[in-house]
Amino acid sequence: MHGRLFDSNPRANLTMATVPPIAGLDEHGATASRSHHFTLALAGNPNAGKTTLFNALTGLRAKTSNFPGTTIERKVGRVRLSDRQIIVVDLPGLYSLESTSPEEQIAAQALSGRLTEHGKADAVVLVVDATNLERNLFLVSQVLELQIPTVVALNMIDLAQRHGLKIDPARLRLELGCPVVPISARHGTGIDLLQREIERLAAPCSSPLDFLPPMPACAGCSGCQFQTRYAWTEGISSRCVTRSHETRGSRTEKIDEILTRPIIGVAAFFAVMFGVFFLIFQCARIPMDLIDGFFAHVAGFAARHLPEGLWSSLVVNGIIHGVGGILVFLPQICIMFFFLSLMEDTGYFARAAFVMDRLMRRIGLPGKAFVPLLSAHACALPAIMSTRVIEDRRDRIVTILVAPLMSCSARIPVYTMLIALLFPHSPIKAALMFTGAYAVGVTTALVMAWVFKRTILPGQSKPLVLELPPYRLPGLRNALLQMFDRASVFIRTAGTTILCISVALWFLASFPRVAPPSAAVALNAESTSLAQQGKAKEATAKRNEAETVAARDQLDRSLAGRLGHTLEPVLKPLGFDWQIGIGVITSFAAREVIVSTLGVVYGVGSNAAEEHPESLYDTLRQARRADGSAVFNTANCFSLLIFYVLAAQCLPTQAVTRRETGTWKWPLFQIAYMTGLAYMAAFLVFQVLRHFGFA
């Protein structure tokens, strides 16, 4: 692949840009064109169909990354056009080059060459919504002034025709002074023509300033720029567009008449979200169990085939467990983003944000924050990743900070265990308890959001300005690509951190190594003698018992165990002993780990605890302290429950928060405030209940 060699010298880019259009395609010019990668930026208004065009141009070869030094994403793809390698960059959607929103500013900077990484874009494809030409031409007027070679892709031309808008592309080309290609990115029409125009891009087009009327002399009047440009766009539109029968948006208006009503709209939104949730819970279960089962098999296989010892333990309990721990999140992330993409594509997402806006304003967050907060009930990870829809950075950080307070699905096994301990024979009380735990999570999240908006991240949230695009049928291809994209972003950025956490926790639980205790040795000896007598079943039972005893002893004397002992004075006021302390520490990998940890600590064995929870519950109920009192009583079960509702025991969440906020400050703060809250709440609950004699 000799075409891979390219000149990184920016000067070369400039020379390229002035090569006559067709020269790059013929035999002689081919060498020159191979000398560097041509960078093409895709820009346009939000909802103009930029991403659909990007997908149509690059397909699966795209990669999502952040703009250097920011948390704003861009998609970069490659496309090969007649022997020339072209890098296509999908910029965030923007309405104006002078916008103040960070995403739009980045897009504007990328266009005007103020972002250095790729140098100035060699050319721009401006995606314009043909059904809304006057508005879209506003941005065109600004971009043309940048003097970058530009092609205007007149997208959704099929829709415009259906709505009785006849646009004359030749006339528009003349008016704008740059190539105009009518396309339908959704149906793939006109893409070949667009590609040919991209190949030809080289000479800068003539400046539209020639066409703009001279700016009125009124310094300091910021309205003029808009007035002048819009007068220009209206003029062009009147000369290029003929309207036969104006029908655009009539169907949309009928649907919106219902979906944007304050009460019906909110109810409809809850119904939609309930459906999505139900699917996340139901559908994700199956692949999650499969992933769990698969990794259990791999772990079993590795345990059998690796020589017993430290390495085997690291591979099985550290690495395989860690990789499984990353992949187990994928089904939820995939389903969530698949549906979010559908909701966005249809245009429904904008309506949801619209109807929720008024309610969310009361706690100081925009309507768009609602979807992440609701979906955090399935899992905080995809929820935090989906906060990108919130434009204001402070609003976004507040949403990220409080999202993990919502009771996610990983808390369910913990709630189940504790509620089984509290109310073993009363399904009604158990159900009430479950509801109560969820309610505490939601209430605390909303209150904390309100508090953060008034203290550490003050500032009135920006008033709603939101385009309500026409309803459209969603594209399955876009949804699937979005799903794969989110999954790969998650694995690439959070995966490593999660794996490290898993290995670190394995280390804490496995070091220092201790010799098997005498009880285990004795049990093993019994097992051997039983095996010799041909009683295979009893022998296996004894060996398992020996393993359980050894594991318990190892955990007890490990770093995690010592930490549990060290923390006991701190945890005592919450009613936790050192065994529960170990459970709390190991839950930092994932909350549900406390169930298997308690299984090990109380000698049931971790597998038995997961497969036959009743046996664990019985053991826990019967567990006694040295003085004969029950280890688990009403007071400390309640306090442990409230602790698990509020505590930040999921380091993967912090890994994702780090990625989305771009700094370690926020994930650390998140851990600190949530743990602080959990500690205080559990302390209060335990002390009050003990005071009234429930301990």
């Binding site: 006057e134 508005r135 007035q227 655009r248 948006g249 208006e253 904008a350 944000a353 309500l468 695009p469």
Partner: protein, 94 residues
């Protein structure tokens, strides 16, 4: 939020416009980032707008697009209702 300046001209606040009546933007009371955004979206002096749905937030049509806007922002925009009665929101047929 809005400073209640006396309105001398026959202008009304965008949020108080009758639905389905088109109007021309005449004055913008206070400038800030949000207002800049509104202008970039087409709500700027001299342009025709139409209130589609009252309330908070409300829906405004400008050119071919529909915008959801907070009432407190919309009320900083003063408009003059069209008397001639214009059927389409795009005054481009000149």
């Amino acid at each position: 939020m809005t400073t209640a300046l006396p309105i001398t001209e026959p202008f009304v606040r965008l949020g108080e416009l009758q639905p389905k009546v088109c109007a021309v933007v005449r004055r913008i009371e206070t400038e800030d980032d949000s207002m800049e955004r509104l202008k970039a979206l087409g709500i700027c002096i001299g342009r025709q707008v139409e209130l589609v749905k009252r309330g908070d937030p409300l829906i405004v049509r400008v050119y071919g697009s529909r915008l959801g806007i907070s009432a407190r922002l919309a009320n900083r925009v003063l408009v003059e209702p069209c008397t001639g009665g214009c059927s389409t929101p795009t005054p481009a047929q000149t």
